[in-house]
């Protein structure tokens, strides 16, 4: 649907052996950039829905808006993001899922996820994000508690324990 509405988006068959699915790409010049070898790299776009990758639904009022300054062009973009608690816990889940993958190219990305979690955790704690904010469903948070415990067991750290506690995850 995206590629029919906006020609900057196009679908390409996945190059992974036996994948059997297509991948959505974005390029300002659209699919023509493939043939003309543009100096601008295409960007892969993932579109997820609640239910995909254990993502929960959340109320639109919890969306956070950012103004991204584009520098010398002098203009800025207004971009909406998911609430920080979901971004953090989604990263923890991504770490857990990739770590268990039987595919090397997926499994090796779990360290990148771990670094993202380690960076985001104190940010969430400082912003006073907590599981009691009624942002995410209880069922999701119950599952997330297990993911966080597993993450902490893998990377035990006194500061991390403090930050997780501030957010509402009590870790032994």
């Amino acid at each position: 649907m995206m590629e029919m509405w906006n020609s900057c988006f196009y679908l390409v068959d996945s190059t992974k052996p036996g994948a059997g699915f297509t991948v959505l790409w974005y390029h300002p010049h659209g699919k023509a950039s493939i043939e003309h070898q543009s100096s601008i790299k295409p960007i892969k776009i993932d579109i997820l829905c609640p239910g995909d990758a254990n993502l929960p639904s959340f109320h639109p009022s919890k969306i956070v808006h950012w103004n991204v300054n584009l520098g010398n062009a002098g203009n800025s973009l207004r971009l909406p993001t998911a609430p920080l608690l979901l971004v953090l816990l989604h990263k923890v889940l991504g770490w857990r899922t990739r770590r268990r993958s039987s595919y090397d190219h997926i499994r090796e990305k779990h360290l990148r996820d771990a670094r993202d979690v380690v960076n985001l955790l104190p940010i969430a704690s400082r912003r006073r994000v907590t599981i009691h904010d009624n942002v995410l469903p209880d069922r999701f948070l119950e599952s997330a508690s297990e993911w966080v415990s597993e993450f902490y067991a893998t990377y035990p750290n006194h500061r991390a324990q403090y930050h997780w506690g501030e957010i509402g995850f009590e870790l032994a």
């Binding site: 995206m2 993502l55 971009l79 909406p80 993001t81 971004v87 993202d116 960076n119």
Partner: protein
Amino acid sequence: MAVWRAAKATIDTLRELGMEDACIIGGMAANLYGNDREPDVSVVSNHIVDAIR
């Protein structure tokens, strides 16, 4: 810059398709909250589920 423009184009296109609650998640959202890693683009849309149902 390209990745932000791609995200904006994705959000705008989803909105034009009626999915007004689409927002960014993953590395790109993490970057906006202060993580310094260069992000990919991931977007979540509540309304896509409705379209599939």
